[in-house]
């Protein structure tokens, strides 16, 4: 630093003195820079073109992930044939499994063995007789809210279909520590519909 360094101001308080040193140059520069950045940032995000806000970022991120997740799959329909097809499709069941792990395990257990909710790994069901019923129960719930309705919570139809398919795939796995069967035994998923 330059010559006037370490000149005392002449102030003295209870023995404490002060130097009259200038502000460090780098300090002033960074302070000024942070203020300049602030102006540019505000203009860039809020006064420039649209699409810089957090919600636009969110939409872009959502689209990107959904493209990775379902880009090759298209949009599924929640019908019997689709469900029967995908319940054995290891590749796509992972999407259903992810939803199951996120939302369903707290009641149905990690492997579907049943906790507060029913065991999904035996052949007994309470509100389901055909594979399409699984979609209905997921969407609208059942048993007076014992099974909550998920239709506003799972945003994409493919997730609903693949979750239902995943649940269907759990049948007969008889997970360890499973809850006792509830409801009645129903025909195999691919059994022809009863007249």
């Amino acid at each position: 630093m330059s010559a006037p360094e370490n000149e005392l101001t002449g102030h003295e308080y209870d023995g404490i003195e002060e130097y009259d040193n200038p502000l460090p140059g780098w300090w002033s520069a960074l302070f000024a820079l942070s203020a300049v950045f602030a102006v540019f940032y505000v203009v860039y995000v809020h006064l420039g073109e649209e699409g810089k806000d957090l919600h636009a970022e969110y939409d872009a991120e959502a689209a990107e992930v959904m493209e990775i997740r379902f880009g090759q799959l298209g949009t599924l329909t929640a019908d019997r044939d689709t469900l029967l097809q995908y319940k054995d499709d290891e590749k796509w069941l992972v999407a259903g499994k992810a939803v199951f792990q996120t939302h369903c395990v707290s009641c149905h257990g990690k492997d579907g063995e049943g906790l507060v909710g029913v065991n999904l790994t035996d052949d007994h069901y309470k509100h389901i007789t055909t594979i399409e019923d699984i979609v209905k129960v997921i969407e609208d719930g059942a048993a007076g809210g014992a099974m909550p309705a998920w239709k506003n919570r799972i945003p994409h139809v493919n997730q609903v279909v693949l979750t239902a398919a995943y649940v269907a795939s759990l049948r007969g796995t008889h997970a360890a520590g499973g809850k006792a069967p509830e409801g009645k035994e129903i025909p195999a998923w691919d059994a022809p519909a009863e007249p």
């Binding site: 002060e18 959904m66 945003p155 139809v157």
Partner: protein, 780 residues
């Protein structure tokens, strides 16, 4: 000035310093041991023994309040009372006020320590204390402390105020403003009241308060402390007077704006987040101004640092200050915050600040004070050195694992696997992953506490060698004369050069003569400080209150029912917000996990807001309707039963404690007074609450749940017990049902209309018109 002016004779009141210093030590121990206990609760939830008084939700506020207001608070007071007298060459204005301040403050702390475990809380972080205690705080802080301080300034015998005093002034006035405005409530009984702000606005007020509590309770007074005790201990002049001026005023003005960085990605309007972010970035250098002035004051004294524990504490304290005030602005950058927020990263950050800066600065000051206030030699310098090393290592052993934990959890929450699905869909996985780090934290915290133990022992042994009667040296100093001429106004060294008039004036301005004048005018100085704080506050806060579009209304959002309102107050009382957020951010991993992101209009009846700041458990913003009543009942009783590996305490008392139905009308009335459009509720609150409780229990029974809880679970199988009302409590009478009523309501109003109507389900309408991306992105 005639030299014949008779000198005043007076002495300093060091007795009050001894009192505050001892209180600092005691509360340091209490606050850190409470911290250790809550840290243990996270890894061993059963340590709460099923009692409501020892749960994390109730004790975490006790830990934070004790650390901030008891430990740091008393340290501040010790510093202020010791240094102000000497910097003013005046005894404190009133010994009585000093004592009222001391005992009043300790009373507040004791009241806090009683009320918080009892579940009496306002549910706003660091502003938990209930309104009667808040009133007491205002009286003790401003009435006793403030009055005593400012009257001492008025009667000072030192013409100019030293920089430490500037920081004390800023502390006293700003903390008053923050405390009063954030704690405005409409009381509805002796202990409870509803915040006059709701939802988004309450959040903005709270973090205006919360962030500036960090600024004006944990930063400015400690800078004042540093400016006095560091040059004293090092016996070196302060590095730069000009830097003191610039960094003081920039801190005071800029800090106020930074609060909204605690609310990034929330339902706060984005312009407010932006202000919070850019002002936080601008805070970096003003904060470092303090660090530079501290560390560079030690130039030429580094050999002393090596042998003097006091200076070691100060150097590490200031270094942690520099680290934390670099990290703070970095965390305020939206995208960084998107990763760090709600994780342990924040916890590591604040402990670097609290243990590193506030803790080490306090200890340094105490070791410097001990021989002086007890008028003897420090018992053991070696032990002080040991404390220094235990403290420093303890802090590192605490924060490093917690940084790792925060980063781990933040990354796990947002991770998608290669197929585009959540990589860690089950929340509890992300808790279990960081449990080893929580254990490491317990070890680090224990080291830090061991250091405090050494201080306590050293203290005791030093105190034992005190003189039988303390000397009270008589000081002589001239009173300030009425007539005082400031030195000649400086001229620009560019005078006569080819420099514009404006340039010359700027040159004169930078010589700070104007500020020198302010320094001898405490009243003007205080007014300018208040002006800076109020101006910044007004610019930040008022737009969100005045501009309607900041919180667009949602027609389907209705006020809580009387039972839900009572349930919500239980949620608040139990301190659920200490572990659960209620704010789904517009981050895709988050909406996948929790549901549609939160909208500002959803919170207009939330007093206080409960967005939280940490997710030790999952977000609850869309908890309503997500689980069955039965699940909630079992989960509250024993979280492990439904969620293996859960860190949540058990709440069996909720299903065994009667809800105070008679108190519900007061709650409804207070909410109505604040704008909730109640009608029948105002007349029939109790009946409506009972009816809803009955309905919920009926649904619970339909879900195979019980309608009553036997105090002895074995009685459930005993038919005769059903006829003996002393053996059970009907669930519809209990707090658990009120809480479940509230939990089932959270976040459902957004789609309320759709559920009432006979609209076709999403699956049916989807295939026809929605592409995958639009379905999701269009959720807004």
């Amino acid at each position: 000035m005639p030299s014949s002016t008779p000198l005043d004779k007076f002495s300093y009141d060091d007795d009050i310093v001894r009192k505050f210093a001892l209180a600092t030590l005691i509360w340091a121990a209490v606050a850190t041991v409470a911290g250790l206990f809550v840290a243990l609760l996270l890894v061993v939830p059963d340590l709460s023994f099923g009692t409501p008084y020892l749960t994390f939700g109730r004790l975490r506020p006790l830990h934070t309040n004790a650390a901030i207001f008891a430990f740091a608070g008393n340290a501040i007071f010790a510093a202020v009372y010791y240094s102000t007298q000497r910097l003013c060459k005046a005894r404190m204005w009133s010994d009585t006020f000093s004592k009222l301040h001391f005992w009043g403050w300790q009373l507040i702390i004791v009241l806090a320590a009683i009320t918080l475990p009892l579940g009496m809380t306002q549910g706003k972080e660091y502003a938990e204390l209930i309104w009667p205690i808040d009133l007491l705080i205002a009286v003790v802080w401003l009435g006793f402390f403030g009055t005593n301080f400012f009257m001492t300034l008025k009667h000072r015998r030192e013409r100019h105020m030293y920089v430490a005093l500037w920081f004390y002034i800023a502390t006293i006035v700003t903390v008053t403003i923050l405390h009063v405005f954030n704690n405005l409530v409409v009381p509805f009984n002796l202990f409870e009241g509803y915040s006059i702000y709701a939802g988004v606005q309450d959040a903005l007020m709270q973090w205006w308060y919360g962030h500036n509590a960090v600024a004006f309770f944990l930063t400015t007074p400690f800078l004042g402390l540093m400016y006095y005790f560091l040059p004293k201990a090092a016996n070196r002049p302060v590095f730069s007077y000009k830097l003191s001026i610039i960094h003081f005023w920039s801190l005071v003005f800029i800090y106020i704006w930074a609060g909204p960085h605690h609310l990034h990605y929330t339902a706060l309007p984005e312009w407010a987040m932006t202000l919070g972010m850019v002002f936080s970035l601008m805070l970096w250098m003003p904060s470092w101004g303090g660090m530079i002035n501290g560390l560079l004051t030690l130039r030429g004294a580094w050999s002393k640092v090596a042998e003097e524990p006091v200076l070691k504490f100060f150097v590490v304290g200031i270094t942690f200050y520099g680290m934390a005030t670099f990290e703070g602005p970095m965390l305020s950058i939206k995208s960084v915050n998107g990763l760090s927020h709600y994780t342990d990263w924040t916890i590591a950050h604040v402990h670097a600040g609290a243990l590193g800066w506030n803790g080490m600065m306090s200890f340094g000051m105490l070791y410097w004070l001990l021989p002086r206030i007890f008028q003897t030699k420090l018992y053991s310098k070696k032990m002080a050195n040991w404390h220094f090393w235990l403290g420093t290592l303890g802090i590192l052993a605490y924060i490093v694992p917690i940084y790792v934990a925060g980063l781990t959890q933040g990354l796990m929450w947002r991770a998608f696997d290669e197929a585009g699905n959540l990589a860690y869909p089950d929340f509890v996985e992300t808790v279990q992953a960081i449990e080893p780090m929580w254990w490491a934290r317990v070890f680090g915290g224990a080291l830090f506490i061991a250091g405090i133990g050494l201080l306590a022992y050293n203290w005791l042994m030093t105190w034992k060698t005190r003189p039988s009667k303390y000397e009270e040296p008589v000081i002589e100093a001239a009173p300030l004369s009425k007539d005082y001429a400031d030195g000649p106004a400086p001229t620009s060294e560019y005078q006569g050069h080819a420099v514009s008039d404006l340039g010359q004036r700027f040159d004169v301005w930078t010589q700070a003569h104007w500020h020198r004048i302010w320094e001898r005018l405490p009243m003007k100085f205080t007014v300018m400080t208040v002006f800076a704080v109020l101006l910044a506050s007004a610019l930040e806060l008022i737009p969100s209150f005045m501009i309607r579009s900041n919180v667009p209304t949602i027609d389907t959002v209705k006020p809580y029912t009387p039972l839900e309102l009572a349930g919500r107050d239980i949620y608040v009382a139990e301190g659920c917000y200490n572990c659960h957020s209620q704010m789904i951010r517009p981050i895709f991993a988050e909406t996948e996990r929790y549901g549609e992101y939160s909208k500002p209009g959803e919170f207009i009846y939330d007093r206080p807001f409960q967005w939280g700041s940490r997710r030790i458990g999952p977000d609850l913003a869309r908890e309503g309707g997500k689980q069955s009543h039965l699940w909630h009942l079992r989960h509250l009783r024993d979280p492990e039963a439904t969620t293996q590996g859960s860190a949540m305490p058990q709440y069996p008392h909720l299903e065994q404690t009667k809800l105070n139905f008679a108190g519900i009308p007061d709650r409804v009335e207070a909410a109505a007074m604040l704008g909730a459009p109640y009608e029948a509720e105002l007349l029939h609150a109790q009946d409506m609450a009972r009816a809803q409780a009955k309905t919920i229990v009926a649904e619970l029974v339909a879900q195979d749940g019980p309608d009553r809880i036997f105090f002895d679970p074995a009685d459930a199988a005993n038919e005769a017990a059903y006829d003996d009302p002393s053996k059970y409590i009907m669930l519809e009478e209990t707090q658990a049902i009120a809480l479940i009523a509230y939990l089932q309501r959270i976040g459902v109003d957004l789609h309320a209309a759709e559920e009432v109507g006979e609209e076709p389900s999403m699956v049916a309408e989807n295939p026809a018109d929605a592409t995958p991306a639009r379905t999701v992105g269009g959720a807004r």
